[in-house]
């Protein structure tokens, strides 16, 4: 089956073999150039590998955009304590479905990246923390890991290099907050997935109290390409501050939803209207959320920008996880915002009062407005609750929950006012 809606304007680096059944197994993957980068990496020194990744400018694809090579360079090199790698495969940011596709079609691309990263940070045990709900994908990843062991890419003395690595697939059990890196590490240790105050950062005190690097699936999947072809080659795409390509998962009201991989200087408006085909026939887009439900809503006028980290930020939102949600004029925007807030209210781990109570407050006020029982003072109240939730908690989930509400009021006030004043909705049915 051809991957749905591949588009000639994409740069398909990580997604080249999406839809190709023969690329899933290790033989087919090797025929397509798989594990060549690993051989090359094992001939280099660990720090040399880190240096190449640093020079490539690869940034974390899990949401925060932290430079990957720099993160690796924080890991201790003295070998006094064991180092660990945790691959964050907990993908659960609403609107995001790219890691799932990477693992489903090209599990070995991720595994190769994991082995190279582990080598660079001197880890001898890596964990894939994979979302428990992804049952079909878990089976694919498990098979691929076993294949990699059988081929000698994992285990003792990998390819005769003297380097040993164990890789364990660890199943999550249903908690969005386990995607936050310190929550993930708590969960890996057999605790509730409660985030911890940073510092100490995972590179100092991570999994099992030991130095740990946490990287997203897509970040790690990019590593073999960079190691094989070099930093300059990777920098042919994107911008100075956002080199390379990135997958955008596009959903909601679009003619051709799906994953699209583009150079990071691609235009966001063209991604929405050209690659995804814009909204269904006869409808108009109203709002675009470019990076998962944790980033500010954009009006259609704002999306003529490039998709780099800095490009989207200058235009009034954030790249986040690259989960693009398009909302057209047939939807009640207030309901969509309330759905997103409901999610955070459900997923708050409850450690911080402002988050635990703020999320529920926001959801309740929004529900009241949606029902037509809103009051004029509800708008300043929402903004006030939102302001109290930002920047005061252990992890950024609290900030995220306020984002759709605050940006929604700033950019789509008329939607709120129509509900409150006239008990009507601006949606065109």
């Amino acid at each position: 089956m051809a991957y749905p809606h591949a588009h000639p304007r994409e740069v398909r680096l990580l997604s080249k073999y999406f839809g190709d059944e023969d690329a899933i197994g290790i033989e087919g993957w090797a025929e397509r150039g798989g594990y060549v980068a690993l051989e090359k990496a094992l001939e280099m020194g660990p720090d040399e590998v880190t240096e190449v990744v640093k020079e490539s400018g690869l940034r974390g694809r899990g949401g925060a955009g932290f430079p990957a090579g720099l993160k690796w360079s924080f890991m201790p090199k003295d070998g006094k304590r064991p180092n660990y790698l945790a691959c964050n495969a907990d993908e659960s940011e609403p609107g995001t479905f790219k890691d799932r596709e990477i693992m489903r079609w090209t599990p070995h691309q991720m595994i190769e990246g994991i082995i190279i990263c582990s080598y660079a940070i001197r880890a001898q045990h890596a964990y894939i923390y994979i979302r428990g709900e992804m049952v079909d994908v878990v089976r694919v990843v498990n098979d691929a890991v076993v294949e990699a062991y059988r081929k000698g890419y994992l285990g003792e003395n990998i390819l005769g290099s003297g380097y040993d690595l164990e890789l364990t697939v660890h199943l999550g059990a249903g908690a969005y907050i386990a995607g936050e890196e310190t929550g993930l590490l708590s969960s890996l240790e057999g605790r509730r997935a409660e985030p911890k105050v940073k510092p100490p950062f995972p590179a100092q005190r991570g999994a099992f109290g030991m130095p740990t690097t946490v990287n997203n699936v897509e970040t790690l999947a990019a590593v073999p390409h960079i190691v094989e072809n070099g930093a300059d080659w990777y920098r042919q795409w994107g911008t100075e501050k956002s080199p390379g390509t990135k997958l955008f998962s596009c959903c909601g009201h679009l003619q051709r939803p799906g994953n699209y991989e583009v150079s990071l200087d691609f235009n966001l408006k063209e991604l929405v209207y050209d690659l995804c085909g814009g909204p269904p026939e006869g409808r108009q887009l109203r709002a675009v959320i470019p990076g998962g439900s944790s980033v500010p809503l954009m009006t259609v006028d704002e999306i003529d920008c490039d998709v780099s980290y800095e490009g989207i930020e200058a235009a009034g939102s954030l790249q986040g996880s690259g989960g693009l949600i398009a909302i057209d004029d047939s939807a009640c925007l207030l309901r969509s915002i309330r759905k997103m807030v409901d999610f955070y209210a459900h997923e708050s781990c409850g450690q911080c009062t402002n988050c635990r109570e703020g999320t529920v407050w926001l959801a309740n006020i929004l529900r009241r407005i949606e029902r037509g029982d809103g009051r004029e003072e509800d708008l300043p109240l929402l903004l006030d609750v939102g302001a109290n939730m930002a920047g005061r908690t252990i992890c950024p989930l609290s900030d995220s929950a306020a984002v759709p509400v605050v940006s929604g009021i700033q950019k789509f006030e008329e939607e709120f006012v129509a509900h409150i004043k006239d008990g009507t909705c601006t949606a065109v049915r």
């Binding site: 609107g95 995001t96 709900e133 992804m134 249903g174 969960s187 057999g190 939803p257 994953n259």
Partner: protein, 179 residues
């Protein structure tokens, strides 16, 4: 090895099967072997808690008070601790569910594309309300958050199988396919 599973992947076996046997023995035979493999992958016992609970759920279909006690013994934890961890995660069923646990995504991506109608269709076809098990013990329908397939709405998970692009009119066929 009585059990063919590689130690690297023992901690990641999907836990919701169609066959549920609430009184099955835990940690015996094949599962004793698995337990040892799981423990070998972590530096201390507590870290094996999620995989062990997951395996127990695979055996028995849910996490009963007895299961909590047994897991606590094996991992040298208190039952209260095990319960507090188990209750944090939505995938651990602390009550028995129907033979088919039907999880419908009502996250933002699926909601924009008609998830509500799919839920309604499923409730009607199974004669249940959200979270309730049908009188014949067959179906439990629950709403869940984003299943990471938002481009293929509506996403529905039934036990350990995923269904993409489910529309309200597909509901009847989907349920028929199960038996």
């Amino acid at each position: 090895m009585s059990d063919g599973l590689h130690p690297a992947v023992v901690s990641a076996q999907p836990s919701q099967r169609d066959e549920k046997n609430p009184d099955a023995p835990l940690f015996e035979g094949e599962y004793q072997d698995r337990l040892e493999k799981i423990l070998s992958r972590y530096p201390f016992k507590r870290a094996a808690l999620l995989p062990v609970l997951n395996m127990a759920q695979q055996v028995r279909g849910w996490i009963s008070p007895d299961t909590i006690k047994r897991v606590a013994e094996i991992l040298e934890l208190s039952p209260a601790y095990v319960r507090s961890v188990a209750s944090f995660y939505t995938m651990f069923q602390l009550r028995p569910a129907g033979k088919y646990l039907i999880q419908v995504c009502t996250g933002i991506g699926c909601d924009l594309c008609g998830a509500e109608d799919v839920v309604e269709g499923l409730l009607k076809a199974t004669g249940t309300r959200i979270g309730e098990t049908s009188a014949d013990g067959k179906y439990t329908v629950v709403e869940v958050e984003c299943l990471a397939g938002c481009g293929f709405p509506t996403m529905v998970q039934i036990n350990d199988r995923m269904y993409e692009n489910v529309k309200a009119e597909d509901v009847e066929g989907l349920l028929k396919e199960l038996d």
